[in-house]
């Protein structure tokens, strides 16, 4: 039995690995590869997701994995984590060949993974989620107190703040991610794969995550980070591997790269990284108006405390703010997915507060939700079905009570082509698309309806830079034809590039609404933290 394996099992029994003192989590020789993958091939119906890919991670290294949506990044890492079996290729751990048939095998090899969507049991507490599947010291009884102590120690050592007793459903996205990292650490992982961890975090949470990753690196952990944000990758990684259409483009040391070069490696052509918008066109009537809107969050606490704002025809109004300040509730109240607790919402001058979601949609409201996996699509529907989901009863798509399949097929193919949705076929199950392609599908559906009002929450989250370029272009084009857009985003660059005006939300209230030309990222940042620059 390799010594590494015994070490990991010891850690499982003692429940904790100590990062401080002479007692390191991993006894490592720097630069020695921890895991190597050679010639990995993985085929899905209609796609070659990995085509003879080589990849390796060293101890104490942060290795970034980069590539367009659907390039095969998640697939490659899911193979390493035992979720998929490769058709060909070899995997080595510490130089010895291993087979990984399941996540359990992966964990035994010291490999942990944080998924694009979290694998947590909502109804259980943090401690219970960590303890799940582990041997207890008092088998068959649970030993949650002990696990809790272990969690506290680890959270101190790695700067991972979580309340072990909180039920997971009450946690924010950032906190949930910390629970996922905790699960891997507690199981004595020596390597951690993070699949787009920063896509769901606030800038501050990203900083915290990177501090944690820094500690882990110092202690010899091997880290793989998948991200579409080039600055992040350049700032934190040691090496970068780029994939394109399932093939390895290359592996390079980070120090030698610039954003432009990376973008070219990824897309295979030059990409416009800086975006500017055309000059203002005339804005028209108010299309969407919120008067003193109040709403509660899932736990019944007030989330919106009197929000008033208006969006005009041909205008993009940004909503800036650190996530968890009411953005989610704001979008849901407008879309009709959350009851309004006070105030009113008007579209085209008509109050719509008590309209159903369907009626709002028919009247020209489009909604791109933040939680696209849950709210935006039906995972087990075909791509074409999801593309006509909102309008399946309209005359276009149905003859009487029957769906017009031919027309739907032609229409879907067109959208798939226009929005560059990478899918083997329009009949492919939507859950099999890569994360970024699901997002494109939602955008395609919502924008193709030529809505009067669009509410978009984080529309470019998890999307590669080539596609972001295209989405911005679409948003601006539709704005020019009169669409009123409410763009909720945490990305200040995005807001400053696209919006006419930017409203900053803080603790459920609008701090201020600023005209884009008259504001700066610094001013917005202060407002987002709840500070009024003038009033200091």
């Amino acid at each position: 039995m390799p010594t590494g394996r015994r070490r990991i099992e010891d850690q499982i029994v003692y429940g904790i690995s100590r990062p401080t003192g002479g007692h390191r989590a991993v006894n490592f020789r720097l630069n020695a590869p921890y895991v190597q993958m050679y010639g990995i091939v993985k085929r899905f119906p209609g796609v070659l997701a990995c085509d003879h890919v080589d990849f390796d991670v060293r101890r104490g290294e942060l290795h970034a994995l980069l590539g367009e949506n659907g390039a095969g990044k998640s697939t490659l890492m899911r193979i390493l984590y035992g979720l998929y079996q490769p058709e060909d290729g070899r995997i080595l751990r510490d130089g010895a060949e291993v087979t990984i048939h399941s996540p359990t095998d992966a964990i035994r090899q010291g490999i942990g993974m944080i998924h694009q969507h979290f694998m947590l049991v909502d109804t259980l507490t943090v401690t219970e989620n960590v303890a799940l599947g582990l041997k207890s010291s008092r088998e068959p009884l649970l030993d949650l107190d002990r696990v809790e102590d272990g969690i506290r120690e680890l959270s101190e050592a790695y700067g991972l703040q979580i309340d072990p007793r909180a039920p997971v459903w009450t946690l924010s996205v950032g906190e949930r991610q910390r629970v996922e990292i905790m699960k891997a650490l507690y199981r004595g992982a020596a390597m951690l794969i993070l699949d787009e961890p920063t896509a769901v975090l606030t800038p501050q949470e990203v900083d915290e995550l990177f501090v944690t990753l820094g500690y882990m690196k110092e202690n010899g952990y091997s880290l793989v980070l998948i991200s579409h944000k080039l600055q992040e990758i350049l700032a934190i990684s040691d090496r970068i591997t780029v994939l394109r259409e399932g093939r390895l483009v290359g592996t390079v040391p980070t120090g030698e790269m610039s954003r432009q070069e990376l973008a070219r490696m990824m897309v295979g052509r030059d990409v416009m990284l800086e975006r500017t918008r055309e000059d203002d066109i005339d804005v028209g009537d108010v299309k969407l108006r919120l008067n003193d809107v109040k709403a509660l969050d899932v736990t019944g606490q007030p989330a919106l405390r009197g929000v008033s704002l208006s969006v005009q025809e041909g205008e993009i109004l940004g909503v800036a703010g650190i996530s968890g300040n009411g953005q989610r509730e704001l979008a849901e109240v407008i879309a009709g997915l959350r009851p309004i607790a006070g105030g009113s919402v008007e579209m085209d001058g008509t109050p719509i507060s008590d309209w159903t979601t369907a009626r709002r949609t028919e009247s020209g409201l489009a909604y791109i939700p933040e939680e696209r996996m849950h709210d935006g699509i039906v995972r087990d529907f075909a791509v074409s079905e999801n593309l006509v989901l909102q309008e399946h009863t309209s005359d276009k798509f149905s003859n009487g009570i029957f769906l017009a399949f031919d027309y739907i097929a032609r229409y879907s193919r067109q959208l798939v082509q226009d929005f560059y949705i990478k899918t083997p076929d329009i009949r492919t199950m939507t859950r099999n698309l890569s994360g970024g392609n699901i997002q494109r599908l939602i955008l395609a559906r919502e924008l193709s309806r030529r809505p009067k009002v669009l509410v978009a929450a984080q529309p470019t989250r998890g999307i590669d830079i080539g596609a972001i370029e295209y989405i911005y272009q679409q948003l601006l084009e539709q704005r020019d034809t009169g669409m009123a857009t409410l763009l909720i985003s945490e990305d200040l660059d995005e807001l400053l590039a696209l919006c006419d005006r930017i409203a900053v939300i803080y603790e459920g209230q609008i701090m201020d609404t600023l005209i884009r030309e008259e504001t700066t990222a610094e001013e917005l940042g202060l407002l987002m933290a709840g500070v009024h620059p003038q009033k200091q």
Binding site: L83, T104, H115, M119, V121, L124, R431
Partner: protein
């Protein structure tokens, strides 16, 4: 007549019956709770009960010890649970339909066995009253709570025992996780199917004991379809109790109270059409289900089979 219902001795009688009659509900619903908490809906409880009732009865009828009868019921219950698990966990058939199939199978087979092995309605002497020393002498309460047979006490002991298993053991944690997010449990190396097999076997055993508690504990006879759909009410009770053991206890007591009232109303010849009295528990079921929409505890993966995505 109607005022007879309100004398002290009648009230004590009704409450005594209530505590007693809750026995089969408790066993069966607690068993079903295990299955549902792990994400499997078993509608075949009634069929398993009938099989348990028959085997428990038959073993005792053949002259064996009562506890051997209970063990026989447990054995057949575990087997029925395995069958359910094979069909709906391994073969992934629709859980509702396969449960109905199991029910019809249990109903048919228990009747057939009864006709071929016993033939006519016979009685046995079942579990005897076992007053608990001292406690049973407390006036009123003593008779209501502490003057029952062993199976009745056992049913109530199962409430804290089930609670403990679900909330304080590693198996319980796995059950809760698998019922809510099987994918997450799978990635942590928990065998989703293994856990579901286990809960269905526990559920089968408890359902069969519920049946035996009728045939060798409360009524001491076996008749075809003697459960009269009690197993379906047991399934409903799990919803009623919001998947919690105390909730199930409350529901079981409520229903057995209705049952007890109905029996006493008939016994005292109170002029309520007997059909109405017999309908009462079923009407209750529907009313209660309609009003217990509190779904927060509902296992999110209930009635969905699990397959590792690829």
């Amino acid at each position: 007549m109607i005022d007879e219902l309100f004398t002290i001795s009648t009230l004590i009688g009704i409450l005594h019956s209530c505590v007693r009659l809750a026995t089969p509900y408790l066993f069966a619903s607690l068993g079903e709770t295990f299955g549902q908490r792990s994400g499997v809906l078993n509608l075949g409880v009634d069929g398993i009960m009938l099989m348990g009732a028959f085997f428990g009865f038959y073993v005792v009828f053949e002259g064996h010890n009562l506890w051997v009868g209970v063990l026989a019921a447990i054995a057949i219950g575990v087997m029925m649970g395995l069958l359910k698990a094979f069909v709906s966990v391994t073969m992934q058939s629709l859980q509702g339909i396969s449960g109905i199939g199991l029910y019809l199978f249990g109903l048919g087979l228990s009747s057939l066995l009864f006709k071929t092995l016993i033939g006519s309605v016979e009685g046995v002497s079942g579990f005897r009253q076992l007053p608990i020393p001292l406690l049973a002498d407390i006036p009123g309460i003593g008779h209501i709570l502490f003057n029952h047979n062993a199976l009745v006490y056992l049913a109530y002991l199962m409430v804290p025992a089930s609670w403990f298993v679900i909330n304080r053991t590693t198996l319980g944690l796995k059950i809760r996780a698998v019922g809510h997010n099987p994918e997450a449990a799978d990635t942590l190396g928990v065998s989703v199917n293994g856990v579901r097999y286990t809960t269905l076997m526990i559920g089968g055993a408890l359902a069969a004991v519920a049946g035996a508690s009728l045939s060798i504990g409360l009524q001491n006879v076996f008749q075809e379809n003697m459960t009269n759909g009690l197993g379906f009410i047991a399934v409903a009770l799990v919803y009623f109790g919001s998947w919690r053991t105390v909730g199930v206890l409350g529901g079981a007591l409520l229903f057995s109270l209705v049952n007890a009232l109905q029996l006493w109303v008939q016994a005292l010849d109170i002029p309520v059409p007997s059909e109405v009295a017999v309908m009462m528990p079923y009407i209750m079921t529907i009313v209660v289900l309609a009003f217990t929409a509190r779904q927060i505890q509902r296992p999110a993966a209930l009635a969905r089979s699990y397959e590792r995505g690829e």
